[in-house]
Symmetry: C4
Subunit: 280 residues, 4 copies
C-alpha cells in the first residue's frame, strides 16, 4: 500500500484565515492556557506564548515556573501569568480553556510528569490539547494514554515521534506513520525538513521550510501557533495545516534576507502575514 500524500499549499491560508466579523470580542477568539517553561527552559514557553498572542488568540494565560514571570511579561504584557507551583490557581484556568498547549520547556522531571497527568485528567470534550516537546517524551517514556474526550494534537520532531510511535526515524514513512497515528487518536504533526500532518485519516506534506529555521525554539513557536490557530478557526485539522504552512512561509520570506531566522521573528511577523493572507 502506498499512502496518498496531499501537498499543503498557499490555498490553505484563505481557506482558514477568515476576515473577523465586526461584532466580535476577545472571547470570540478563544482562551488558551500554555503550560511549560521550567527554570532552565523558560524561553520555550515564552516563545510559544508569543506565537499564540501574535496569531490572534483572544485570551492567553501562561502557566510556568515562577522564575519566568518577569521575562514572560517583558515579552508579552498581554499574557496572564500563573505560577505552576500553585496548581489550585491553574486548575480552573485549564478547565475553562478552549485550547491547552503543554510541553514547551516543560522538562521531564517528576514535577513535569505530575503536571502532565493532571492536565490529561482535566481534559474534556470541548477542549483542544496541543502536546509538544518534553510532554511527548514523558508521554512515551511513561506509556501514558492520551485523554479520550479532548481533541489531541501532537507536534513531535522526528526523534520525539520515534519515542512516541516506536518507529525509528529511518523507518518513518507515510504508511508506517499513518498506522501509528490511527492507534493514537490524535492529529499528528511530524516535524522535519518537510513537515507532515496526519489528520482525519489523511496525510499532508508541507511545501515550505528553510534550513535558516534550524535553531532552538522553532518548535516552541509552532506549538504556540497551532494553539492560536485552533483557538480561532473552527475546522481543527485545517487550522493545524494553516499554522504549519504559515510558520514555514514566514520563515522562507525572512530567509530571503537572513542566514538564520530567529523564532521570535516568526511570531512578530504573524499579524501582517495573516492580514495579507486572510479570506475577504
Amino acid at each position: 500500500m502506498m499512502a496518498k500524500v496531499t501537498k499543503i499549499t498557499k490555498t490553505i491560508l484563505t481557506d482558514v484565515i477568515r476576515k473577523r466579523p465586526a461584532n466580535s470580542f476577545k472571547g470570540t477568539y478563544g482562551k488558551i492556557a500554555l503550560i511549560g517553561g521550567s527554570r532552565n527552559f523558560g524561553g520555550a514557553i515564552i516563545m510559544a506564548s508569543l506565537a499564540a498572542v501574535y496569531s490572534g488568540a483572544g485570551l492567553v494565560t501562561t502557566i510556568t515556573d515562577p522564575s519566568n514571570q518577569t521575562s514572560l511579561h517583558d515579552w508579552l504584557p498581554e499574557a496572564m501569568f500563573v505560577d505552576w507551583d500553585q496548581f489550585e490557581q491553574a486548575e480552573p484556568i485549564i478547565k475553562a480553556a478552549d485550547v491547552v498547549v503543554i510541553g514547551p520547556g516543560l522538562g521531564t522531571d517528576n514535577h513535569a510528569f505530575d503536571i502532565l497527568t493532571k492536565v490529561f485528567g482535566l481534559a474534556h470534550k470541548d477542549q483542544k490539547l496541543v502536546i509538544d516537546g518534553s510532554a511527548l517524551t514523558l508521554l512515551a517514556s511513561n506509556n501514558l494514554s492520551l485523554p479520550k474526550d479532548s481533541t489531541n494534537i501532537l507536534t513531535p520532531h522526528q526523534m520525539e515521534w520515534q519515542r512516541v510511535s516506536g518507529i525509528k526515524i529511518a523507518d518513518q514513512t507515510p504508511d508506517t506513520n499513518q498506522a501509528a497515528v490511527q492507534k493514537l487518536n490524535a492529529i499528528t504533526v511530524v516535524k522535519s525538513h518537510r513537515t507532515q500532518v496526519y489528520a482525519d485519516g489523511q496525510i499532508f506534506e508541507n511545501t515550505g521550510g528553510t534550513p535558516a529555521q534550524a535553531t532552538g525554539g522553532m518548535g516552541d513557536t509552532l506549538a504556540g501557533m497551532v494553539g492560536g490557530f485552533v483557538a480561532q478557526f473552527s475546522d481543527t485539522p485545517k487550522a493545524v495545516l494553516a499554522a504549519v504552512y504559515s510558520h514555514s512561509a514566514i520563515a522562507d520570506k525572512l530567509a530571503e534576507k537572513q542566514y538564520v531566522v530567529l523564532p521570535h521573528q516568526i511570531s512578530e511577523s504573524l499579524p501582517k502575514f495573516m492580514h495579507k493572507h486572510q479570506a475577504e
Copy 2:
C-alpha cells in the same frame, strides 16, 4: 423616550489635543498614579502605564505587586514604582495625584478590595478617578458607593457594566444606561464594538473600532489613555471622548495591515498620532 446619541468623530481630536505651550514643564501635564497588577495580572498595569506615559502624562507612578517591578521598568523606565504592600509609601502619592487609575489587573481578592476602599477614602475634589477592570467588579459585588468629591470615570465592558448597573447586556440601551449613569454620578464608558460614553447628561457613540482589537489588554490600554488625557486636557468629558476615539482610530489604522493589533502597539503609536491630530 428615545435618548439622543451623538457620534464621536475626528473633530474631537483638535477640540481636545492642544499644541503644548512653550513654557511648560512636566508638572503642567499632570501626576498620575496607576494602581493594579497582581502577581497574575502584572501585564495589565504595565499596559495601562504605557498608555499613560505615551499619551504625554507628566509624571507617572505605578503602584503594583512587588513582583512586577522589573517588568514595569523594562517597558517603561519613565514610570516610578511603588510596592502596593507598602501602602504608607503609596498613600502620599495617591493623595497628590491629579489622576488615579485603579483596576487594571487589580484582581478581586481581599487585598484588592482593601486597596480599592483606601483609594476611595483618599479621593478628593481636585482628583479624577478612573475605575476599570476588576475594580468595577469589586465595586459591584460589594455595593460600594463612588467617592463623592472626585470626578469619577468608569470604563466597563458590557459584562462589567451589567455587574455595576444591574442591566443585562441584552437590555443595555442608551435609555437604560443613561438612567443608571445618572444615579452613579460618573462619566461612564461602556466598551463594545461601538463604545458609548455617558457624560454630563449626554450620550456619545464611537465611530471607530476593529475586530483586530479583540484581544486581552485592550481595555487596560484604554484606561491608561483616559488617565493620560484627563491629566493633560482640562475639559474632562471631552478628554474622555478624545481618548476613546484615539484608541480605536489608532487600532483601525494598524488593522489596515495587521490581523490582530497588540495593545502595546496602540500606546507606542500615541506620540505620532497625537502630534498629527493636535490643534495648531
Copy 3:
C-alpha cells in the same frame, strides 16, 4: 549690573564632538560610575546609564539598588552592575572612575545620604562629579560642601536650584544665579524651558528645547549625557554645553513628529546625532 549671556548654538557640536582617532580603545573614552536608582526610582538610573553608554562612554558601571539589576541589563547589557549595599565593591570602582554621576533616582533617605557623603569623600582631582536630582536635594537640606578637588557639575531644575542656592524661582536671574554659582565652585546647569549653563565665570543659554520634553526622566537622561560627554571630551565646560545642546536638539527633531518625546528615545538617537555633527 547686567550679566552677559551667550547663546549655545549648533557650533558647539563640531567644537566638541571630535572624530575618534583610529588607534583608540575603550579606556580612551573614559570610565563612568553612575550612582542612583532606589527601589522606587530604578528607571531614573537606567535612563541616565543609557544616555552615558549611547553617548559613547568607554566603560560604564551602574551602582544601584539590587532590585534594579535585571532591568538595567534588559536595557543595557553593556553596563556593569554593582549592588549599592555592597559598598566595598563600589568603592574601588568609584575611585577609579574618571566621571561619577550621582543622583538620578537616588532618593533622599539616610541610605542615600550615606552614599552621597561617601562619594564626596572619595572624590579626587582627576575626577568629574555630576550631581543631579535627589543628590541636589540632599546637598541643600544637609548643607553639604561640595568636594574640593574634583570638577563639580550640578544639574538642578529650577526648584532644585532654589533649594541649593536659596534663590526663589521668581528671583533666579543670570545675575543672582551667577553670584550663587561663584560661591559654589561648580559648573551649574539650571534646567528650564531655556536651560542656562554657568561655567568659568560665563553664562550660556540654550536655544533649543520643546514642551514635548515635559515628561519624567528627561533630567536623568541629561545627567547621563553630561557624564558621557565630559568623559570623552577634554574641555569640560564645552562638553557640558554640547550635552545640553544635543539633548534639546534631538528632542526638537523628534518633536517634529511626536506630541511627547520619551527620554529613552533621546539616548537611542545619540549615536546617529553625534556622528552627523562630529568635526571631521
Copy 4:
C-alpha cells in the same frame, strides 16, 4: 627573522559561510555552552550568547549566575539557562557541547577559578574551547595549562595577552607573539586596533575595525561570534578568521552612521550580514 603576516579580507566570508543544506536540523549547527556572567557582569555573557545565537548556532545554553536568568531570556528566549551554582546540571551540558565559550563576565574570584578548572577538566578532543576575558586573566595568574585534547582558541586583548604570554604590549610583535602562541597550542586572537590571529603556524591581520567600537562589550560579542562560527563551519582556523572579519565589517558599516556602535547591534546585524556574504 620577520614573520609573514597575511591580511584577512572579504574573501574569507564566502570561503567560510556556506549556504545551508536544505535537509539540515538544529543539531547540524552545533551545541554551544557559554559560561560566564557573575552578578556584576551579567551583561557580558548575555552579549556573548546573543552573538552565538544570531550567528546561527543550533542550540545555545548559557551557564551563569542565577541572578541573570531573567535578563538572559529578555534578550534571548532562544537560549537555555543553567544556574552555575548547580554544576551537576551544567556538567552533562558542557560535556555534550561541541563548543564551550568561557570567560565573558566570569570574574576572577575563587568561584570563577573553580568553574574554569572544572571546564578544563571536562574538555575533550571533539570539543572547541573559546577562552575569553577573565578566564584569560585566571589562566595567567594561576599558571594553568590549557586542556590537551580540545581545540583551544584564546581571544585576549593586548593587556590580557601580556598576562598570558608575558610579553609586554610594547613588545608584542608578530614574531614574539608567534613564538608564545606556539608554546601554548592554541589559536590566538590578539585584539587591537588591527586584530591579529595566530593559527596553524600562520599569522593573519584584520583589515577592518573602527574606533566607534571602543566600548565595553565588544570583546564579549566577538567571543560569542567565534563560538557560533566554529560551531557551524568545520575549518576552525578559517571560521575564527571569518568571525573576526565579520565583527569589524559589521561595525565599520554601522559606524558610517553612528558615533559609537553598541555591541548588541553587531549581533542583531549578523543574520543579514551572513546571508549577504554566504557562498552560493
